[in-house]
């Protein structure tokens, strides 16, 4: 499987780590960070094929992070992954250019399908 360079942004540390491990097992190259600022810093330095972004971050709200990512590089696909998302959030995120809006808990296979699609588009 092709090496995806992914960034997982989630303040739930164990969840982020575990998801990273599972994606790594599935051939992805994952980086993890636990706050919005960290994520933006990382994104400034590197290119990621995909960002998995939680909404409820301790410093910045997910939509704010999304806006900044999109301002910085509109082509980076971002998938919102939230346990709390409301319809309003969903609409806002989709307007800001999120690739998908997914609820926790999520099926790993479902995520893999989306990753494959993104890769297809990128290629």
């Amino acid at each position: 499987m092709k090496q995806y360079h992914l960034l997982i942004v989630d303040d739930e540390k164990r969840f982020a780590d575990m998801l990273a491990k599972r994606l790594t097992l599935r051939g992805c190259n994952c980086e993890v960070c636990y706050s919005g600022k960290e994520a933006l810093d990382l994104l400034e330095g590197k290119n990621f094929a995909l960002v998995l972004l939680d909404l409820h971050l301790p410093d910045l709200y997910g939509t704010e992070v999304l806006t900044r990512i999109k301002n910085f590089d509109a082509s980076t696909p971002v998938i919102i992954l939230t346990g709390h998302g409301t319809e309003k959030d969903r609409r806002e995120c989709m307007l800001q250019g999120a690739y998908a809006f997914m609820h926790k808990p999520l099926g790993i296979d479902e995520l893999m399908v989306i990753l494959a699609k993104i890769a297809e588009i990128a290629a």
Binding site: G83, T86, D89, K104, P105
Partner: protein, 592 residues
């Protein structure tokens, strides 16, 4: 007959009087409608009737007073006229006697032949005289002309003789005397050249007097008669006693003028009594002229007027009361209906609020559970990955099976939280034209296989001329999917499912989904749209399907109702507006 009357009463009686609405308890309203009704009628009727009655009574009294004073005046006038006639009658005769004694010498008068001649002339000139006699100063009658043989009679100790000696003239009251015929004596004293006096006395028939008086009588209810000053009746009276008996009325006090007063007679009849003390210029008389009018008789016009007033007032009161009652009833009924509608709305709102707050709570719980659930999911997933991908213990099927159980349970939890969130979430209304027939067939595509497999017949009946409705297609389909699912779970093999659509009014359509499956007991029906209410086995349902459906129907500004009989089947009826109004801002949700 009684039954018909009761039926009529029932239709007249307003709704607020008829039934006690369970909703309109003191929790919703403070109004006691019957009390308001009664107060309203009393107040309005009082306000309308009191002035009417006051004005009527004042008017009544005024008329009565003016009629009374008119009657008194008329009676007085009549009495006055009769008095003048009476006075004239007596004066004329007294003057005739005075003329006679002055004109004719005593010795001529003492001659009975001459006296008879004089009597004849007087009868000719004035009439009403019975006899004439000359009495000398000792009281001996010296000459007599007339039908009786009375010569030589001594009158010296008789009242009239003594009175006439004192006062020169005398008018007696009416009496029977020796002859037993009612008559009046008038007497004039004169002097002879030798200085002694004599009296010329005449007896008057009362016939002429009575005739004169009765010529003034007007109408059946008036009478004119004479009494003397001690109240003995002198001329015939119809109502107040026989002649020469005491009058049954009070004797009026002396008055020079003619008077008229309101009185009550011994039989408590209202009368107007006119009276005049008769005095001539020549001599005083013992007579009182009485004019009695019975008020009841005289008041025919007034009575007629009074009857008219009473009719008019009675009719007026009736009309006012009818109008007041109708108005009050109408208004209070309006109030009642408005309050009822309000109470119903409030009850509905309470139910909605209940659903909304349950939904909010559920959403909150779902949100909080999702994060730990995600962690369990990933951890268990990772453990499984370790087994499967890293191929550690991958041969230990029991371990993998256990992990799968965890994942399955997480998935189920996820499904529940997802549904809970869906229930609470307000969806975008994406409004478009929807053909009901197409929408229903779209939904049924998912069930064709199951229907075939379970031998369930599905009948769809949508009229050809059914108009397209403007609504949110997604929600409509979700509603239909939920209800069809529900029905499929309720039926067994060989059952029939009917889906009908029809117009339910100018701007409403109704869709019914009925099955002939297991049905529901009546006590479950009220709870059926509440979240988490389920009759299915524990694993089979979350109890959210119909609650979500209810929420969706409400969002489409529709209504949903259910009818069910155990073991006979269930019918859901969804009523939707043909044209939904988009309400802006309704889709906002609080950030969770």
């Amino acid at each position: 007959m009684m039954e018909r009357f009761r039926k009529a009463l029932k239709t007249i009686r307003p709704e607020f009087y008829r039934q006690k609405n369970k909703l309109l308890n003191p929790y919703y309203t403070f109004s006691d409608y019957r009390k308001i009704w009664a107060i309203g009628i009393t107040t309005l009727a009082t306000a309308a009737l009191v002035p009417l009655l006051v004005v009527t009574v004042i008017h009544y009294r005024l008329i009565e007073k003016s009629v009374d004073s008119e009657l008194v005046l008329r009676t007085e006038r009549l009495a006055s006229n009769a008095r003048r006639a009476m006075t004239f009658f007596l004066e004329e005769r007294l003057n005739a006697l005075r003329f006679t004694v002055n004109e004719i010498r005593y010795d001529q008068l003492a001659n009975p032949d001459h006296l008879t001649e004089v009597l004849r002339n007087l009868k000719l000139g004035f009439g009403g005289l019975t006899d004439l006699s000359v009495i000398d100063y000792t009281g001996i009658q010296v000459a007599y002309a007339g039908p009786f043989k009375l010569e030589g009679k001594n009158y010296s100790n008789q009242v009239w003789f003594i009175e006439c000696q004192k006062g020169n003239f005398y008018v007696s009251e009416i009496f029977r005397g020796y002859r037993d015929v009612p008559h009046i004596i008038i007497a004039v004293k004169s002097f002879r050249p030798d200085g002694t006096n004599f009296i010329l006395r005449a007896t008057l028939e009362t016939e002429r007097l009575i005739q004169t008086l009765s010529s003034y009588k007007t109408g059946a209810y008036a009478e004119i008669f004479l009494v003397n000053r001690s109240g003995i009746i002198q001329t015939p009276s119809k109502y107040y006693g026989d002649t020469f008996e005491k009058i049954s009325l009070p004797i009026p006090d002396y008055s020079q003028r003619t008077q008229a007063v309101m009185e009550r007679d011994d039989q408590k009849r209202s009368i107007i009594m006119g009276y005049a003390f008769i005095t001539t210029q020549i001599a005083d008389t013992p007579f009182i002229l009485m004019v009695i009018k019975q008020k009841a008789g005289m008041m025919a016009i007034w009575l007629k007027l009074r009857a008219n007033i009473q009719w008019f007032v009675g009719f007026g009161i009736l009309v006012i009361l009818i109008v007041v009652v109708i108005t009050c009833t109408f208004l209070v009924n309006k109030l009642y209906l408005a309050d009822k509608a309000k109470a119903e709305t409030m009850a509905l709102m309470e139910q909605n609020n209940q659903l909304v707050s349950i939904g909010q709570l559920a959403a909150g719980v779902a949100h909080e559970i999702n994060n730990p659930l995600a962690l369990i999911n990933e951890t268990a997933g990772y453990v499984k990955d370790l087994f499967v991908i890293k191929e550690l213990y991958h041969k230990d099927e029991e371990l993998i099976e256990s992990i799968d159980y965890i994942l399955e349970a997480v998935e189920r939890c996820g499904r529940i939280t997802g549904q809970l969130l869906g229930f609470a979430r307000k969806f975008d209304v994406k409004i478009q034209k929807v053909n009901l027939k197409d929408a229903i067939s779209d939904v049924l595509i998912f069930h064709n296989k199951e229907a075939e497999y379970r031998n369930i017949k599905v009948n769809v009946d949508v009229p050809q001329d059914m108009p397209e409705i403007v609504t949110d297609r997604g929600k409509l389909q979700q509603i239909l999917v939920n209800l069809v699912n529900n029905a499929f779970q309720a039926v067994v093999s060989g059952c029939i499912l009917e889906i009908n659509a029809s117009l339910a009014g100018p701007d409403k359509v109704s869709i019914t989904i009925s099955d002939n499956g297991c049905g529901m007991p009546a006590e479950n029906l009220p709870k059926i749209f509440e979240p988490f209410f389920t009759t299915k086995e524990r694993d089979k349902g979350t109890g959210l399907g119909l609650a979500i459906t209810y929420g969706l129907v409400k969002k489409l500004h529709g209504d949903i109702s259910v009818e069910s009989k155990e073991n006979e089947g269930t019918t859901f009826t969804v009523t939707l507006p043909t044209r939904i109004q988009e309400v802006m801002g309704e889709n906002e949700d609080s950030a969770g």
